[in-house]
Symmetry: T
Subunit: 160 residues, 12 copies
Amino acid sequence: MTMVRSTLPESARRIAGDALQESLVDLLGLSLIGKQAHWNVVGPRFRSIHLQLDEVVSTARTFADQVAERAAAIGVAPDGRPETVATRFALQGPKDGWLRDTEVVRLLVEALEAAIGRLRERIEVTEEADKVTQDLLISVTYELEKQRWMFEAENWPRED
Amino acid sequence: MTMVRSTLPESARRIAGDALQESLVDLLGLSLIGKQAHWNVVGPRFRSIHLQLDEVVSTARTFADQVAERAAAIGVAPDGRPETVATRFALQGPKDGWLRDTEVVRLLVEALEAAIGRLRERIEVTEEADKVTQDLLISVTYELEKQRWMFEAENWPRED
Amino acid sequence: MTMVRSTLPESARRIAGDALQESLVDLLGLSLIGKQAHWNVVGPRFRSIHLQLDEVVSTARTFADQVAERAAAIGVAPDGRPETVATRFALQGPKDGWLRDTEVVRLLVEALEAAIGRLRERIEVTEEADKVTQDLLISVTYELEKQRWMFEAENWPRED
Amino acid sequence: MTMVRSTLPESARRIAGDALQESLVDLLGLSLIGKQAHWNVVGPRFRSIHLQLDEVVSTARTFADQVAERAAAIGVAPDGRPETVATRFALQGPKDGWLRDTEVVRLLVEALEAAIGRLRERIEVTEEADKVTQDLLISVTYELEKQRWMFEAENWPRED
Amino acid sequence: MTMVRSTLPESARRIAGDALQESLVDLLGLSLIGKQAHWNVVGPRFRSIHLQLDEVVSTARTFADQVAERAAAIGVAPDGRPETVATRFALQGPKDGWLRDTEVVRLLVEALEAAIGRLRERIEVTEEADKVTQDLLISVTYELEKQRWMFEAENWPRED
Amino acid sequence: MTMVRSTLPESARRIAGDALQESLVDLLGLSLIGKQAHWNVVGPRFRSIHLQLDEVVSTARTFADQVAERAAAIGVAPDGRPETVATRFALQGPKDGWLRDTEVVRLLVEALEAAIGRLRERIEVTEEADKVTQDLLISVTYELEKQRWMFEAENWPRED
Amino acid sequence: MTMVRSTLPESARRIAGDALQESLVDLLGLSLIGKQAHWNVVGPRFRSIHLQLDEVVSTARTFADQVAERAAAIGVAPDGRPETVATRFALQGPKDGWLRDTEVVRLLVEALEAAIGRLRERIEVTEEADKVTQDLLISVTYELEKQRWMFEAENWPRED
Amino acid sequence: MTMVRSTLPESARRIAGDALQESLVDLLGLSLIGKQAHWNVVGPRFRSIHLQLDEVVSTARTFADQVAERAAAIGVAPDGRPETVATRFALQGPKDGWLRDTEVVRLLVEALEAAIGRLRERIEVTEEADKVTQDLLISVTYELEKQRWMFEAENWPRED
Amino acid sequence: MTMVRSTLPESARRIAGDALQESLVDLLGLSLIGKQAHWNVVGPRFRSIHLQLDEVVSTARTFADQVAERAAAIGVAPDGRPETVATRFALQGPKDGWLRDTEVVRLLVEALEAAIGRLRERIEVTEEADKVTQDLLISVTYELEKQRWMFEAENWPRED
Amino acid sequence: MTMVRSTLPESARRIAGDALQESLVDLLGLSLIGKQAHWNVVGPRFRSIHLQLDEVVSTARTFADQVAERAAAIGVAPDGRPETVATRFALQGPKDGWLRDTEVVRLLVEALEAAIGRLRERIEVTEEADKVTQDLLISVTYELEKQRWMFEAENWPRED
Amino acid sequence: MTMVRSTLPESARRIAGDALQESLVDLLGLSLIGKQAHWNVVGPRFRSIHLQLDEVVSTARTFADQVAERAAAIGVAPDGRPETVATRFALQGPKDGWLRDTEVVRLLVEALEAAIGRLRERIEVTEEADKVTQDLLISVTYELEKQRWMFEAENWPRED
Amino acid sequence: MTMVRSTLPESARRIAGDALQESLVDLLGLSLIGKQAHWNVVGPRFRSIHLQLDEVVSTARTFADQVAERAAAIGVAPDGRPETVATRFALQGPKDGWLRDTEVVRLLVEALEAAIGRLRERIEVTEEADKVTQDLLISVTYELEKQRWMFEAENWPRED
């Protein structure tokens, strides 16, 4: 039984709902690996990266809330339970234990890049289905790309 | 290789470290199921419970951070990665989808009660090992017991 | 005589101007019926709904201001006079006198749903005419859909 | 059926209730025409008057809320619905479209003067009926007379 | 010996002083029973009423302070000691132990109604004696009547 | 020529205007002698009295502004020029030079008492003329009587 | 019937509950006699002590709330009704009427000392029963001992 | 060598990068001429325009930062050096020396109109290339059009 | 008898003391005539000038306090009593009654210019006597010259 | 025609005016190159330097405003237009494109050193002309020397 | 002569007093060497460490105040005079002159480690003597261990 | 080796550096003896002096930071280590143990007077060497002279 009705037609609801559910998992996952790195980073750049990671976590948490409430708003029950995040989260996270500062920077560049690539696809598919959802995903992308640039700038010289 | 040395003797470090790691998983898990219920609750008490859950989440996040940083402070690398939270989290969470307000209240009473029981055991075992860690766990228990009372008071009349 | 010139070509100005003028009436009307319900609600959920209605009113007032100033910004004189609001406002408002809390919830779900439906049409028609106006209407819709979800979640179980 | 009982005897309740209901309409009407002028004013004094009108609107909204809640507090259901405001509002509002700054100043002086005259009568009739209501109406009059003076001072030289 | 002299003639000082002393006891008593209910309320409306009671307590404490300092200001030593509050407080308070939410609402309506009735008498008797004291008692009545309305609205449907 | 018209009939305007003009002089004078004492006080209670005097000055300045703007609001041009304050101010001020703390306390008790006596007369005469003005003078009296009590309490044991 | 279940075994619940209930009475009593002295103090140190007493009252109120909510959290209904405070409060309060500043200082030193002595006993008895309750009582004692020192320092030279 | 890699394909990167670089120059230029007018304006409307110009400058600075950081985020090094602003800035600025208030208003209307026209073209060309950049340019346009309206409203009657 | 000793040699103390005493009178006088104009100004620029005058008054009051406390700090009892301000204040103030906005602007330019000329002389004479006092007078001059420019800019075109 | 008259004699006005105009160009230039480096810096110290540069920019902008308004206050029209900044700015700025963090530090040390040298000369020449202007330039130098030290400390070990 | 009496028995007072006095010296010493390093650090990590040291200083100052006031509260006069800090402070401080960033990090790790070791001993000895003092020392240790971890994490790779 | 280069010529650097280093020791010493008295003062004026001393400490700490950073800014490594403060601090501090309030007042007057006398000499010697340093020392003197006056005023009647 549908407890919260939608203001969208069913197919639009499903497309937008899927885009939001996947974004929710990515953002909750990012908030967890951001905190993991925040606690475990070591090295001469410890303080700088420790603080920067908290901005990533704060951004990820705020948008996770908005994305989940947007799903509810269009009649889709969001799923952010621990088991869902663990099984559906597709970004590469840190290994167990202490993490060198250089590793953390590289890890964040890659995780953010992957998240951004997935978000850009969802921006395309929601264009027709729901412009309001699309607009929210654009805002998420804007902030994650800003975060990615800062880690990328800090990642230089790269060892490609 | 131990990257962050401890100010505690090894056995104390291990006991306190285990207590903190387990508490970290419980608190991160609580923050995720608290948000899940925050987004999915329906029923006449929606607004009241929706807001109250955000206080649980905020409490759980703040203490997760303190507990993890306490682990790091005694030379134990904390583990709060998605897969760790999913596999180690022992409290009962909500099922997928919308949740009736009465179910949410009962669920929270039970999850908080379970977390409190586990914390009280850790307060005992850390008494000798590390009084500083014990004091932090006492603060966590104080707040979770306060939250539990409020859901319990709201859970009345109970259907035992 | 046109006192404030437009930065838009005439046809775009007229389309965007109409969309904004209609939205202005809907938002001012919503702010008035939101307050009416805020003052007259009775029943066991009085406090919860009394407070939630003030958030609707605050949202409606803020966007009414933005929408009217957007109209002025494109050279269209907005009309929010009492007689205009009364004659053009098409949403269903509350009857005179005290209102049961359950009635208020149902009334708000319906009023918000109607407002959202009308906004979604205006988002379509302004796509070509003025993307800046469209973006504002998307923001209004985002917030009203969030408010609608909360009353809808509180409206359960529904008596369809 | 009376849903909210009164702490006043019936005749006092009716006198105070009428005074409050009429004041509510005047204040809601003032808030709407204040905003209308705020958006449509043009001329060299645009910015000054644009800002001053927002103070009138803010005053009118705050007192409308207090007046309506006072009515509820004495067991009278306040009526601030769009149609009521439109049909009962007796003050002269602005015409449709852009408004010259000099016109706006004159309009506000007149609207405030009319509202003040009506309030002063209600201060008299509520003296016996309910001193608490009278005290609120005195506060409203104090603020509106202050606003009136400022527009009057700005209205000089007058073209009587 | 009179330590603080009065700016009022003796009979006016005595009338106003009595009115203030009695109001002080009512307000201190209200603040204590408000807290008692705040701590002991149980039932599905727990959170809503728990929070609302803190507003009553805050109002009662603020006015108790103003009323007592007003007494001192006119040369009357206020008496708010535990034994005085216990023996002079005439409003009906809660019984010992947990309190159902519905009982709390009814109790507050009655306690506030009784306090208001007593205040209205004092407004009459201080009219001649001291208009400054009267004005303070009018403010107290305004706030308590507002609080009473909110509990009354929540008390519906009543079981008269 | 009258530049700001009044909302009061002429005789009411004159009575209220006189009461306000005289109060303005008293309040401006109080603010000046309060500061004079604030700067020149010496003795073991220096800090306590130095701080308390700033509260008197702050109160006097705030009310001087309200009283003068009230005069303007009823069409009476207020006069707070240095020469007016000097010639019309009837309260006893401090002598030139340093002031003992005990002298300052006695001086303030007397100045406040005189100001209060004059205000109480004006409360009587404005009752018929303008209740709005009367209400403002009641507020002024309330605050000055509170200040007087504090200096009086500090003035003990008195050397009557 | 027990409405709020406890997370403590019964004997621990009773010991901790008694300690909290007695502390609640002491703290509510302190807040009342603190205010009584705040209003009635006279003498050259009036302002200093008047302000310092408000810090005592604020401390006592904050801890009364925490202590009562801790009782509820362990399933014990707290009792802070006027008659309970009056009959159970064991500390020496002020006599009726104005109070000399020196008397107030001595009175507070004694009342705080008595309260501290009783709290220290409860810290002992709750060690086994409930470390979380014990930790709260330690915090209360910390603040009251700080307050006591300040009055003691001000009480010098003592007339032992 | 590219130091910061892009998340966009090369052609999209170039189109969005050009749009951002040109907008950066316009916004930095606007912030400089806004300040120039802020300092040099004279005439009876000095204060009003002086303050309004600071809002333009604040808006221009905030968006210049966002636009430049957006360029960096997509791997394009932004260029806001003095010589670049001076040679690329295409809007009409003020002449040297004091500026009449009427001239300033006209100048701002024209400079903002020109900037808006250029922004609207960039909104079109970035639609395909990068919706995230487009969304930022829409926000910039929204604010500049609002500023333009206010100066335009103040510019009346115009001397076309 | 000198109650507060000086850290300056006697001749330096006298020179600095005189400079401060004269500045005190100028600043207190400015604060009174600034308020007088604030209350009595009429004309189309009412609001702008009304607000700007409050900045002059606020500046004058703040510096009067600093200047008087500086005098006390070097052992000179400052004199800011009403009679002193009235007899020593040498700047041209407004006439009684309502004041045209253009007159107010001209009046402020002249009063500030006079005050600045006098301050510049005192900056010279205190150079040797007391650099700390000189530095304070430089700060006063900086602010008054800024205020003067703003009125001067608003005073254009002048009718020299 | 001189629109804003000066309170300084002509030669003093010219000397102070020149010093202020040159300082304005240096500060506006610094704010632009500070932002340029803020956006383009790359390397492991990215975050630290990115943030520190915003403090330089904020300092430069605040002082540019004060310096320009000081020029206006002494009757000299300040010139901060883009073309003026570009042609008169004598400090070495960054090249186009991304900038290594080590380069940025060195660049800032040099730019600040050059600016400080020029300011110290102006402090000398304004001593006679205008002590108020001199005092402002001393404040600017104080802040820029503090900023220079921090970059210098970070620049170590230097490659002289 | 004992001026402030203790609430503790004599032997407990001496044990707790000694623990507090020694902690006071350690904390004051830490605040001084923290500031010394804050001012003298040089090297590429200057800004990060400069800011982190201010957090150490702020922590040390806050706890020094609490520790000293706790000593006073139990009747022990604390001694934090310069000569006492210099002769009793046992932690290794920095040498005179500039300090390399790597040296500062190592120095802080060692100083904090030594302070923590000493605090842990005092936590043991105060367990019986005074649990309130013990609780304060646990809080101090918690914060210093957190600070130590951050410098330790930054100290990696260590050159053991 | 000089790690931070100076913008001053060598002799100026040495003169200004010495003045700053000596002022640093005086200010750090003042902050320590201010706190010592803050904790140990007893007597009827305890609270007043306890609070006033915290303002002295706060002033001394803020200026110590500015003075030390000014030294660094001109290339002089400041020395504020415990042993330096202890051996170089020339002002008279309090004896060990509790301090009577009257003694504290006298002590502070003397310590501040001594510090001021030394600062005034340094203002002279830095005039030629570095006006920026001189300006900072003038600010320090301004605040310390203000503090001295307040203790001096409180010190009356003096026992010269």
